[in-house]
Subunit: 230 residues, 2 copies
């Protein structure tokens, strides 16, 4: 503000939200077809412009609602992207937000009036501008969080099996994890309560159901598990 | 971009950097006097405007250099602040960056031609706009990092004592830590190598010097220590 006052530049500010969904097996990404204005093959994150009276978070919420009908999703600010030529039409700085949701909870709410679709992370179409960089950074952030916190629990049914939890971690890290190793590590956190019930869907023998020990969970939310590091 | 195209707003984009410094005893914050344009009592983070051809990180680097003469400090993007009325003159979105440096390394480089000064975190003057919120968020981020990673090591001399390291952690967390507890926890990480030398400055008996076990440090950078949680 002291020097080079004359050089300051007016920008548009965009909000782009990366919505990951877990469907029980894999991680998906919610994209919207922006065919109308750009070209029909280009998909986009949940993006739009900041308007004069909104805060950044309010704008991100509104844009997600306008594009998908989804409301009340906690969007976390990820990073702001500002390469000079990221938008070839006009200098635009984009504030990226992200969230991780359960696909089943939201599938029906995304009505057909919207042009939004879930894509497998392994089969993403071409994305607008630097949206692929945004997705990469969001995955990195998700993995970092998942290595420390039991973030995944919120994406599973209230009662779940260890194999279901393992599927979620495998989806987040895009890898397979040794079954016994995973089971040993997750149980050593003492964050799970073993129930007297079994889930019969997956095998004849069935798998024991667990639920989160909520008291310990909140006590230990700042105590890091670090599954993946060793 | 689909709806409400007409409502998009042109903003100025500011960069504001929060530079923390450790002087061996306490954490300080680098502020600059913006008296020329606002009022003489108001201090500011290292702030300025984005210009047309810069990326956000380039602009933050340039602004820090222009205001302090400091170069080659790794600035990490913290958060973007965009409340509609945060700057009363014009709608401005500010991308905040932060860094933690050793005060001794930089004191002499901040020449008298600049109006920058180090302030104790406990005695901050009135700050411009929402800069106090930015500082609060940066402290939170610093504490979170310090609870997981040995980030502090880079702020100490190559050989240091456990009490010196403890001072740094106490400065970051703004608290006193039990001496034996700290010593036990930090040694249990196996990240320190005990040397055969003693530092005689602090007491007659002296305190053993340690250095970072660099091999283990890089191996374990993703393994979290979590001093403060328990």
């Amino acid at each position: 503000m002291l020097a080079q006052y004359q050089q300051q530049t007016e920008c548009l500010v965009a909000l782009d939200s990366i919505i990951f969904g877990f469907d029980g097996l894999e991680l998906k990404l919610l994209l919207v077809n922006r065919g109308v204005e750009v070209d029909k093959q280009t998909w986009s994150l949940m993006g739009g412009w900041l308007t004069p009276t909104e805060s950044l978070a309010q704008a991100a919420d509104r844009i997600l609602y306008e594009l998908t009908g989804l409301r009340d999703i906690y969007l976390e600010q990820l990073h702001t992207f500002g390469e000079p030529l990221r938008d070839p039409v006009q200098r635009t700085v984009s504030v990226a937000y992200f969230a991780l949701v359960n696909v089943q909870d939201y599938e029906q709410k995304i009505s057909d009036t919207f042009h939004a679709n879930w894509f497998s992370l392994n089969e993403l179409p071409e994305l607008l501008f630097d949206h692929r960089d945004m997705v990469k950074m969001a995955i990195k952030s998700l993995r970092y969080k998942a290595s420390q916190h039991p973030i995944g629990f919120e994406l599973l049914p209230q009662k779940f099996t260890i194999p279901q939890l393992q599927k979620l971690y495998e989806a987040i890290f895009g890898t397979t994890i040794d079954k016994r190793n995973f089971s040993r590590k997750i149980l050593s956190t003492n964050l799970l309560l073993k129930l007297d019930e079994k889930h019969r869907g997956s095998s004849k023998k069935g798998a024991f159901l667990y639920e989160v020990n909520k008291e310990k969970y909140s006590q230990q939310f700042n105590s890091f598990m670090n599954f993946m590091a060793s």
